[in-house]
Symmetry: C2
Subunit: 310 residues, 2 copies
């Protein structure tokens, strides 16, 4: 049975905008986040306290969090290390998210550390979270497949989850960083986690790189998982595939869930409005479908038809 | 349990090219169809014997069928009326497909007839099929929702199916003509058809207009349905939504099914090759994802990564 309600975390201004070539002005980012809040999103991963040299697109993390904090939703931010965590605490973020790669090659490329080093680096962040009373969550990248190594054993993902859990982290996002997941992987990896760490609260983060983003959400729903991350307009890219779509699209996800009778608390029309704003601002077609077609409930006058037989 | 094998009918040169502004030269259409055949497709809905005035893009139906017939796969074509059926028989097509709309307003707009008139018009076509020994199939348009009327009662679709069945038609395609289906509709409409017409062989035809195309295929697979229609590169449009995606994408469907361990007999790389050819020829980005990202099994050297944290 599907969950009756699903929580959606909007990651467009973090996972989406970090993949843009241009720096999106701080006030624009805040307008988008205000749009998410107005549409009913309760949790927003607003930015990342990563080195501004590594990701200049998010150099304004502190200002973005300061403004976003006034809007109501829980504001989360990625923190790659203790330095980032201190900046995040200073900015008074609600939740900090550390991330670990599930494969050594992705960890080396993405974090410049081995998996062991990356987990060791979480300890000081966990201490900072404790001392500051901030919620600490974790995300495991390439949890459903690595672009360098291929399949990642479910036991590896579960092992990392256990080590994070022993650091006091009870909420875990499984990231399909380059869109390699299929329902089979979702069942295997999540099944192993349920078995080994039934206490862990799971969130799934899919990319639509190979068209299976919402299909994988269906697989997660079938397992009873009630928390997903998505980006307005389907923002976000894939470093290996020019033109490939990015994160699953928030408004398309909201539409699918509503068609399944699953409550999200999000106003679809308002969400479509923000997605169109982002598309207009970025000046190129984004992958979201609902912002073009509208919901099925928006009917058309017969006069609108362009004659097409069959 | 999912079916172990699925039949895919390629409709790109019919449902896809009929939606193009330009007339695609006959020899190009035949090259595409040859590509489908080489990739392993066993059934191709190559064209439509509709009035060349109504759909000039398919005015070369007879030449396309004549050439396609030499390639091996079963060649099907839409026939809107007896005149079209006679042209189709003359061109020696393997299978003829009649279509009926499930809503009066769509029938009036699309066929210029009431549903009763459209079903009556099938009788002479059925006679032509009998006399010529051609297989006759039927498709029901807007079976999962009408862009003018909204939800279509499952009983209406089933009633039309029964009347087609009594004309000797045993194979039926349910068309989600403007991408209004969701898993709930698939279960309701197909469930009713199983109940009322267990002898009918069902094929599902989805459009990805609202991003749920492959999700709806999953719903069909869950019901044990093993026959689907799709278009290479996700070709095809929606008369109500500029820029909306069209048919579900053949190579993305093949990829999803292979990830589920379901056999299609289609070579994914060859199919991606044809899709890229179509995109190159049409000169604009088409919706297919696999032709950009490649299958999950195509790994990348670590050196290929563009540093992106998180």
């Amino acid at each position: 049975m599907y969950p009756s309600r699903v929580d959606i975390t909007e990651v467009g201004t973090r996972d989406g905008l970090q993949a843009e070539q241009q720096f999106v002005p701080t006030e624009r980012k805040i307008e988008f986040i205000a749009g998410f809040a107005a549409a009913g999103l309760r949790r927003i991963e607003a930015t990342s306290f990563v080195s501004p040299r590594a990701v200049p697109q998010l150099a304004d993390a502190a200002q973005v969090v300061a403004a976003a904090k006034t809007l109501g939703p829980t504001i989360a931010a990625l923190v790659p290390n203790a330095k980032g965590a201190m900046r995040a605490v200073e900015a008074d973020v609600d939740e900090m998210v550390v991330f670990i790669s599930a494969s050594e090659s992705h960890s080396a490329t993405n974090l410049n550390m081995s998996i062991d080093q990356a987990i060791a680096a979480v300890e000081p962040v966990a201490a900072i979270a404790r001392d500051s009373g901030k919620v600490l969550r974790a995300a495991i990248a390439v949890a459903f497949g690595c672009p360098f190594e291929g399949d990642v054993p479910a036991a590896t993902v579960s092992g990392i989850a256990g080590r994070l859990n022993s650091l006091g982290i009870g909420s875990l996002t499984l990231g399909d960083t380059t869109g390699m997941a299929s329902p089979r992987h979702v069942e295997t990896v999540c099944g192993k986690l349920f078995e080994d760490h039934p206490e862990m609260r799971l969130t799934l983060h899919f990319h639509n790189t190979r068209g299976l983003g919402l299909v994988n959400v269906m697989a997660g729903l079938k397992l009873g998982i009630d928390s997903y991350e998505s980006a307005a307009a389907g923002l976000g890219g894939c470093p290996f595939a020019a033109g490939a779509t990015g994160n699953i699209c928030t408004e398309d996800l909201v539409y699918m869930l509503s068609e399944l009778g699953i409550e999200t608390g999000i106003d679809l029309d308002a969400m479509i409005g923000v997605a169109r704003e982002m598309e207009r601002y970025l000046g190129r077609a984004l992958p979201g479908q609902l912002m073009r077609a509208g919901p099925r409930t928006r009917l058309h006058p017969v006069s609108a038809v362009r004659r097409a037989v069959g």
